[in-house]
Symmetry: D3
Subunit: 132 residues, 6 copies
Amino acid sequence: MAVTAPVTDDQATGRVAEIFADIRKTRGTDFINNFWRALAVDEDLLERTWTELKQVMLMPGDIDPLTKEMIYIGVSVANGCSYCVHSHTAAATAKGMSAKMHGELLSVIALAGKTNQLAESLQVPVDDAFMK
Amino acid sequence: MAVTAPVTDDQATGRVAEIFADIRKTRGTDFINNFWRALAVDEDLLERTWTELKQVMLMPGDIDPLTKEMIYIGVSVANGCSYCVHSHTAAATAKGMSAKMHGELLSVIALAGKTNQLAESLQVPVDDAFMK
Amino acid sequence: MAVTAPVTDDQATGRVAEIFADIRKTRGTDFINNFWRALAVDEDLLERTWTELKQVMLMPGDIDPLTKEMIYIGVSVANGCSYCVHSHTAAATAKGMSAKMHGELLSVIALAGKTNQLAESLQVPVDDAFMK
Amino acid sequence: MAVTAPVTDDQATGRVAEIFADIRKTRGTDFINNFWRALAVDEDLLERTWTELKQVMLMPGDIDPLTKEMIYIGVSVANGCSYCVHSHTAAATAKGMSAKMHGELLSVIALAGKTNQLAESLQVPVDDAFMK
Amino acid sequence: MAVTAPVTDDQATGRVAEIFADIRKTRGTDFINNFWRALAVDEDLLERTWTELKQVMLMPGDIDPLTKEMIYIGVSVANGCSYCVHSHTAAATAKGMSAKMHGELLSVIALAGKTNQLAESLQVPVDDAFMK
Amino acid sequence: MAVTAPVTDDQATGRVAEIFADIRKTRGTDFINNFWRALAVDEDLLERTWTELKQVMLMPGDIDPLTKEMIYIGVSVANGCSYCVHSHTAAATAKGMSAKMHGELLSVIALAGKTNQLAESLQVPVDDAFMK
């Protein structure tokens, strides 16, 4: 179903093999999901994207890793990215999202989706209090 | 710039006046932002939306209020709702989002937006490991 | 605020002038809204779009004109087209959409927006009963 | 393919069982589509969404039920919700949408999608005549 | 998985058969992809869409055919149209898009998706220098 | 109208000042548009985004710079990013996009937007011929 066939381990050489090794080492698992295997059709794109993901999602910051995953899910739902909803829901669950938290996440996304449409339907003018 | 003129306090009567009073009481401020004034063109819609917002965003749960606001922002950005980005960034700031957290939030949203497009461009097949 | 300056009546010549005349005659008003003045930067695009709009929105069919306008608004809200929400809400009102109908339209759009996000969040599999 | 396994009748207890019963009774059919089974992972979310759907789509109003379904389809297409396009096209057909009406619906959605992009491409300024 | 069953050659009569013949002749291949077979549920819609595609994509202009396909892919990715990403990536490849160009195309789409979200997140005001 | 006030030259220090200097040098102009001034609220985000833009848009590749700008516009229109449509239409014009090319670009974007909605409305199944 893919536009380009994902790169298998046998096909991975040079920089692609190095990045696959770094993904495995960083995540502590042998599993490499299809997203990275698909991106490997372009070495520069693969490297740039993996480097950014490590910086944004894995380096310690002031937003905790699970919260980041839930924000990621929210954006991916609204952008209609089926693959990303699957992979980041799995990631959030692995980082401790309970069934109850998942339900609350869904409720926030649903409410946001609803009020987004309402504000757009009514073309609500931004209040002066929100301007900078 | 609005599609319908927002309802002023003078125009608010009956159920609309009651909901405006509840918004003020619940939030502890006299300020009612334009979204609710615009929604007031339909009493049922106003009541349903305010009731849902109170349940989802204000009732204690397992996701903290600031995290909910940041998820809300992520969804609103991806849905392109200018009004909602303004109002919920203000809400997140009021609930303690620092400039550093804002920068991290922007970085997660940007990365998600980017990988959403990539997964869609490549039509990456969902890994068996993510299926239920 | 436009990307290209809208074409004024003075600037309209040849085919553009003919189409502006047809818009006025077809609609029975001297007013030509900015959308057509902006499209006039490309004669072919202007003609193709106006011809399609006449066929789809103005020729008698099995869906009545007001219903078509409300569908148009729903699509435009979800696509985030501010201009189109304004112009088609005005058109729907001109064709008889009451304040009560507007409230119901908003309620349907809001519910659809909400359930769209939920079905996407949960990646709900399409039921066999809905397949052809 | 789902993110969470849909709740079967055997698994449905308490409030979920009650809502499933209400769905069956309200619709006059034993069939419960996957959307509700997926939402059942969170009782509050299930109840809130079903209650809203009953109020918005099933209570008599000034917009007829078939028109509401066609607006729902338009929003769902623009939001890219595959599941919702399937389920609401089935619902519209059940409520009397003919093949000819379906063709007209598609034509309006296509035209709206096209002009939405054009107005966005050209950043057409909203006419004063459309402002309130 | 379709909402309506695609029209087979056996089922194609009258105007539909004529358009199918024109598609084959214009493209120099016997293959007619599912998009046109699905659109054939409405003769007017089929004819209008095929005529527009011939004018926009196949008539000589100042943008070359491969560039048009790459723009088409970019729009289709952002609109989340899985079918269109598949069919137009195939078309671009047939028109000479190399693996290296595909990688660069993906990089531009990814960057645009990212900066689109950032500009929306920050509600960046349009510079005077960009206004007309 | 911004969510955060753009960083002025006077406020730019350290790494932000260095990146502003690099933007000026790379582009050969003193003008720095609001996007970069807004991003400067987070140094890491500013640096990562500018570095990526230089690599993707400015380094020589197999897709020429003007084509990249037109793809960028297509994505930005579909994502509904008003700021990006303005800034990249200006960039495309500066790189040689004529009025005729702009008209053709608009026609491709409009057609893609239309057929995206149609393929989604009909849930057209991807042809085997397009699968890998």
